[in-house]
């Protein structure tokens, strides 16, 4: 561990990814989202919580070339489950898939959530459809004997995700919405601040501002946190270099790190949230871009 940091960079996954054409075996609208179930045995067998899959969209003749990366929610019995939020034409196409359709998918991709400290109570915090990425982790942690507290938050009740699944797995679940349409009115940090003192590790997935708030709260109390970021990706496998953000490495130096292969899980105290989308002089290689120490 680098001096001053509570986390070490997440280790790489146990297995390399595969590319497969797989059948959709379930498609279920869940409030504002669509849950897709894929018969993807080789991906299911390899996947670890925190990893994601990357879909080709639009069919073979589509002009949409870039892959859509989506967190794995759960795996079991050869089936991979993801929750899709229709944002643009590519993700909308995915939400329109029906059982019997086939999709080209690559996975599992990215680094999984690292194991918690021995015996630690874990706090899982999901924002919007980001909560889906924590369901598999909740199951794994419970199976390993950890106590699990979960917080799911969203702008409104219909943007909440995976609350039922988390309720079945976790010891306690708190719900917050910005408009008070479900659970407590307010941000996830309302619940996080209350639960955090009893927890030994935090795992979070959701919008960047939420991840920052959760990571900052954890770090302030000396609790290690791991965040799964959602950055715009073109390939998902580490070759396009578009999904970078500034992250402090094990050597204490900040690099623009790929959220696909060096993430999506990063130590919450290692992501320089305030500097995302900028280039500061102390990033490795910034001098060659003409950005130098003031």
């Amino acid at each position: 561990m680098t001096a001053g940091y509570l986390t070490t960079p997440a280790p790489v996954a146990d297995s390399p990814p595969v590319q497969r054409t797989v059948e959709v075996v379930g498609a279920r609208p869940v409030d504002a989202y669509v849950e897709l179930r894929l018969a993807a045995r080789e991906i299911a067998e390899r996947a670890q919580p925190g990893q994601f899959v990357a879909f080709a969209v639009g069919g073979e003749t589509s002009g949409l070339l870039l892959r859509r990366s989506i967190a794995i929610s759960t795996v079991g019995d050869g089936v991979v489950t993801v929750v899709v939020s229709a944002a643009g034409p590519g993700s909308t196409w995915l939400t329109q898939r029906r059982p019997g359709d086939v999709v080209d998918v690559v996975g599992p991709l990215g680094r999984p959530f690292p194991a918690p400290p021995a015996g630690a109570r874990a706090l899982l915090v999901g924002g919007g459809y980001g909560a889906a990425a924590l369901v598999g982790l909740a199951g794994q942690l419970k199976a390993a004997g950890h106590e699990v507290a979960a917080v799911a938050g969203a702008a409104s009740a219909d943007r909440l995700c995976s609350v039922q699944e988390l309720t079945e797995l976790a010891d306690t679940v708190a719900v917050t919405t910005d408009d008070g349409s479900s659970g407590r009115r307010g941000l996830v940090t309302l619940a996080v601040d209350e639960l955090l003192p009893d927890c030994g590790v935090v795992y979070a997935c959701g919008p960047m501002r939420m991840l920052q708030a959760v990571a900052d709260a954890a770090t302030a109390l000396g609790v290690p946190s791991y965040v799964a970021v959602e950055e715009s990706m073109a390939c998902g496998i580490g070759v396009c270099m578009t999904c970078v953000l500034p992250v402090v490495g094990s050597d204490g130096l900040t690099r623009l790190s790929r959220s696909c292969t060096e993430g999506p899980v990063f130590g919450g105290d290692r992501v320089r949230f305030d500097d995302v989308g900028t280039l500061t002089w102390d990033v490795v290689g910034a001098d060659a871009m003409g950005v130098t120490r003031p």
């Binding site: 590319q19 002009g63 070339l65 870039l66 892959r67 070759v239 396009c240 578009t242 292969t261 989308g277």
Partner: protein, 312 residues
């Protein structure tokens, strides 16, 4: 990926260096090859054309770096990379251990940068040749891109040819953003280029209608993907017509074997597959097989017979 054996002889050459397949990665689209290993037999493809390397490590530009466009994408990465030391210590030995051929793309902002990089790569195991990325701003010419000025482009190529290992062919990578690509091609060949890589991306712009500002952190970006294929093919056609004996590594929106075939018929003796890899990480092996089948169907016994066929 296992390359399917067909009756067609798919071997070709990059300058003087024989390679078993005419299908290569494209610079900037497959990093340094490592990430493709789960999907592609790196030793079976023609070569891994590396992301452009410069003398020093570079962070690249701030995000957003990418915008999806019709049948393509705009990117503004800023040549993020480990620098020549990182390449020599890490990526090139990794490729060499696997028997993969590296075609190292080099970039700089001064003629001397290019020459120094070429000198550092002399005799390095596994380096089959160099691709000279002259689509960089020339600091000694107020940032004008080398590739857009036949004189500046020739200066770079001559310096690289003089400094490089004689056994390593050097290919100049041409920009389509010029009035007359044939004159630039002729100039760099006269300066000693053993081959031509064409084309680089086209300069483009996307404005976000919500923020009403340019989408990319770097404002403009390079357009790639099938959207540029007809432009690329036209460039290959024109240059092969003017300089029929100069080897061409063709690229620009190749997604299938039939796309690759068009470039071969126009005069390319090898092709690079770029943006398609983002869509299909197994694209290289698939395109090799599709191209071999397409050549066989058309009665060609070898790839070499088909090079420039459309001109005959």
């Amino acid at each position: 990926m296992t390359l399917v054996e067909t009756a067609v002889d798919m071997s070709t050459a990059l300058g003087s260096v024989p390679v078993p397949s005419p299908v290569l990665t494209a610079s900037g689209c497959s990093a340094f090859g490592r990430e493709l290993e789960p999907f592609t037999d790196l030793a079976a493809i023609g070569a891994v054309v590396t992301k452009s390397v410069q003398l020093r490590p570079r962070s690249g530009r701030p995000t957003p770096r990418m915008a999806e466009t019709p049948s393509g994408m705009l990117n503004s990465i800023g040549l993020q990379g480990p620098g020549i030391d990182g390449l020599l210590d890490g990526e090139l030995p990794w490729l060499a251990e696997r028997g993969a051929r590296a075609f190292v793309s080099i970039a700089g902002v001064r003629v001397e940068d290019f020459a120094e990089l070429a000198a550092r790569l002399r005799g390095v195991p596994g380096v089959a040749g160099l691709e000279v990325n002259i689509s960089c701003p020339n600091v000694e010419s107020r940032g004008e891109v080398f590739a857009c000025d036949p004189v500046a482009a020739s200066d770079v190529v001559a310096a690289v040819r003089a400094a490089a290992d004689p056994a390593q062919p050097i290919y100049a990578k041409l920009s389509p953003d010029v009035t007359d690509i044939v004159s630039v091609a002729r100039a760099v060949v006269d300066a000693g280029a053993d081959g031509l890589s064409m084309i680089n991306t086209l300069l483009g712009l996307v404005i976000d209608p919500d923020t009403m500002k340019p989408m990319l952190g770097g404002i403009t970006g390079g357009l790639s993907g099938p959207a540029i294929r007809p432009v690329a093919l036209r460039c290959v056609w024109q240059v092969h017509q003017a300089l029929p004996h100069v080897p061409i590594l063709g690229m620009g929106g190749i997604r299938t074997g039939l796309d690759a075939l068009q470039f071969v018929l126009a005069g390319a003796s090898a092709v690079s597959v770029g943006t398609a890899v983002f869509n299909d990480p197994s694209a290289l092996g698939r395109i090799h097989a599709e191209l071999a089948a397409a050549l066989e169907t058309r009665g060609f016994a070898s790839l070499r017979e088909a090079v420039g066929y459309a001109h005959r």
